[in-house]
């Protein structure tokens, strides 16, 4: 940096580096995002609205929200529990378990969906025995299972480091003051994790609602039955109904934008208290 000229306190490096950064981001990130808004509204807001309230579109959005909700609920609770167990107790294989929990991040989502099919599908490892009683694949349950699989490490990954840095003396203080383990967890441990839980939940939800690769394999992609919002976009685009696809794309994009804004601003607020 010292080689850069400073002319009367003006540092040319500052505008130059900002300009370069935005210049790189423009074609790669900003323009693609902008184009869905530009295209989606180019034939009028009325058309956009019509595409949005089409029954199939509404169903797809609802299904995405509901399945993502259940997957998030499960993964936050389990992630919290797993983080508690793995920080509290050191046992043979605990490191291996930590790695396994984190594994789904590294597995391609298509592989995740495929492996679920191989397990629960009509001819799957377990599916061949259970399929005569109940179906899992090609239902909303399959979508939830796929969502759980691909978002498994997210909440855990956010919560565990907070657990690790949490001072053990807080829990010990609570115990000496007369609290049972459960009371300590409820009054002391959990409030300290509030920020991590909210962050973990939002990350999981944002990831689950956009899940495509695994969902398309396990859901069957049946309109108004097992078609989630991303699948709807894909299906409508294939049918040549670009406006319909675009309307949902806008909703999903706005939704992620909203979630990440909340994450960004809520984090500092939650961590403070």
């Amino acid at each position: 940096m010292s080689s850069v000229r400073h002319v009367r306190g003006f540092d040319i490096a500052k505008p130059l580096s900002i300009f370069t950064m935005v210049g790189v981001m423009l074609p790669l990130i900003l323009l693609p995002l902008a184009s869905i808004f530009i295209y989606g509204t180019s034939s009028g807001l009325d058309k956009f609205w019509q595409a949005l309230i089409a029954p199939e579109a509404i169903f797809a959005l609802q299904l995405s929200l509901v399945t993502s909700f259940w997957a998030t609920l499960f993964n936050v609770i389990f992630g919290l529990f797993a983080a508690y167990v793995l920080t509290k107790y050191k046992f043979w294989g605990s490191n291996a378990l930590t790695v396994i929990i984190s594994l789904p991040t590294a597995i391609p989502t298509a592989v995740a969906g495929f492996s679920l099919l191989l397990l629960w599908g009509p001819y799957g490892l377990l599916g061949r025995f259970t399929d005569q009683y109940f179906h899992i694949m090609f239902t909303a349950f399959a979508i939830i299972l796929a969502n759980i699989f691909v978002t498994f490490p997210l909440a855990f990954g956010v919560i565990k480091p907070v657990f690790e840095t949490m001072s053990q003396s807080l829990e010990e203080a609570s115990a000496t003051m007369g609290a049972t383990r459960w009371q300590t967890f409820w009054h002391v441990t959990l409030p300290s994790l509030r920020g991590a839980i909210v962050t973990g939940a939002l990350l999981t939800f944002a990831r689950a609602i956009g899940e495509f690769g695994s969902t398309i394999l396990v859901s069957g992609n049946l309109a108004s039955r097992t078609q989630t919002a991303p699948l709807y976009i894909f299906a409508k685009f294939n049918e040549g109904q670009v406006e319909a696809a675009n309307a949902i794309a806008i909703v999903l994009a706005l939704f992620s934008f909203f979630i990440f804004s909340v994450l960004f601003f809520a984090q500092s607020w939650l961590d403070k208290k």
Partner: protein
């Protein structure tokens, strides 16, 4: 005096390593006992055993006549002030203080009343709605104490409570806390590695070394009548001279010092003479009246000015040319200036003879 807590024959091992051996001491009602020791001396382990956060292998923890050795921490009713205070960050000062009562299912009114009372006691009136992160170290400590007092603890345990604070605040808080503890008359155990802190805050001090109590006594006794070399050197500076006892006289090369008390040594027993730098007396014609015994002659090696007093290193008239140090107050340094290589006659106002165990482990049964 009523015994508030007693600890008998407590020992603790981690595998083969002995952490604590035969710890025995009592705390009277309203008494402050300081466990003083270097890191690794086992003082924190004792505290954790009393609090129920750790188990002991043998021994008993008795609080107000009740054997609590087998009880978990939450049933012991002990108040612990942790090193980092361990205040609950999501609770306000009020909530922190009321937590113990809430756990005890007290009514809202009762909790509020007690919390008000305690907030007043520790002077945190304008901070009651604040969160711990908004308080200074000293204020946090007061919250920690109030929080522990809320449920009328059997005993208060302080785990190095001043170590996170500045030296200046430390001194002030020591006095405040001692004053507070005397006011509320709750028995307390302090652990610290700071000898000055121990001397100032304790009614009695137990000096720990390698998992054993070397000596327990009043600050005056532990400082002035150390029973082991470790205690003598841990609590401030001490000069040591090796010698033998014969017929009540300490003998070493050119030294013959008449013993005034503790005449239970055998003739010819190897002993050590211990005296503190401030107990050395220089003979001047002007103040011959002071009661002292001549020790030996020596030559000044070094004089250094250390603020409130002067520290002087003297080579005594020994074949091995041993050095001793002593200090003089300002009044004396001004009236009787000394020079390097000046010859002096050294006298002792107070000294102590202890049996000579050259190595620590010869004293304890166990070799580490």
């Amino acid at each position: 005096m009523n015994i508030a807590a007693s600890f008998t024959d407590i020992s603790k091992k981690f595998g083969e390593t002995s952490i604590l051996e035969d710890i025995n001491f009592d705390v009277s009602e309203g008494e402050i006992v300081v466990l003083l020791g270097a890191s690794g001396s086992g003082k924190t382990t004792i505290l954790r055993i009393i609090a129920g956060l750790e188990n002991c292998n043998t021994g008993k923890v008795i609080l107000h006549g009740k054997d609590v050795t087998e009880l978990p921490a939450r049933e012991r009713g002990v108040g612990v002030i942790f090193q980092n205070y361990a205040l609950f960050p999501q609770m306000t000062v009020e909530k922190n203080i009321g937590y113990g009562l809430k756990l005890r299912k007290k009514s809202k009114n009762e909790i509020n009343k007690k919390v008000d009372e305690l907030i007043e006691l520790v002077h945190l009136e304008e901070h009651r709605q604040k969160y711990p992160s908004q308080l200074s170290g000293g204020q946090q400590q007061r919250v920690a104490i109030a929080r522990a007092l809320a449920y009328n603890p059997e005993i208060l345990l302080f785990d190095e409570p001043f170590s996170a604070l500045d030296a200046q605040i430390r001194q002030k808080l020591r006095r405040e806390i001692r004053h507070l503890l005397k006011q509320i008359n709750v028995p307390a155990i302090f652990i610290t590695h700071d000898q000055e802190e121990a001397l100032e805050i304790g009614d009695r001090i137990a000096v720990l070394n390698q998992g054993k109590i070397e000596q327990i006594g009043t600050p005056f006794d532990v400082y002035n009548k150390p029973s082991t070399e470790y205690v003598a050197t841990f609590l401030g500076t001490a000069n040591l001279i090796l010698g033998v006892v014969n017929n009540g006289v300490f003998e070493a090369e050119n030294i013959d010092l008449k013993l005034t008390d503790d005449l239970f040594f055998k003739n010819g027993q190897s002993v050590k003479l211990i005296f503190r730098p401030e107990d050395v007396f220089l003979r001047h014609p002007e103040n011959l009246t002071q009661n002292y015994q001549k020790l030996i002659d020596g030559w000044i090696e070094e004089i250094s000015f250390v603020g409130a007093f002067e520290r002087i290193t003297v080579r005594i008239n020994f074949k091995n040319g041993q050095l001793i140090t002593f200090t003089r107050p300002k009044t004396e340094t001004e009236n009787f200036p000394l020079q390097i290589r000046q010859k002096l006659e050294i006298g002792l106002v107070r000294f102590r003879i202890i049996p000579n165990f050259p190595l620590t482990h010869e004293r304890s049964a166990k070799v580490y």
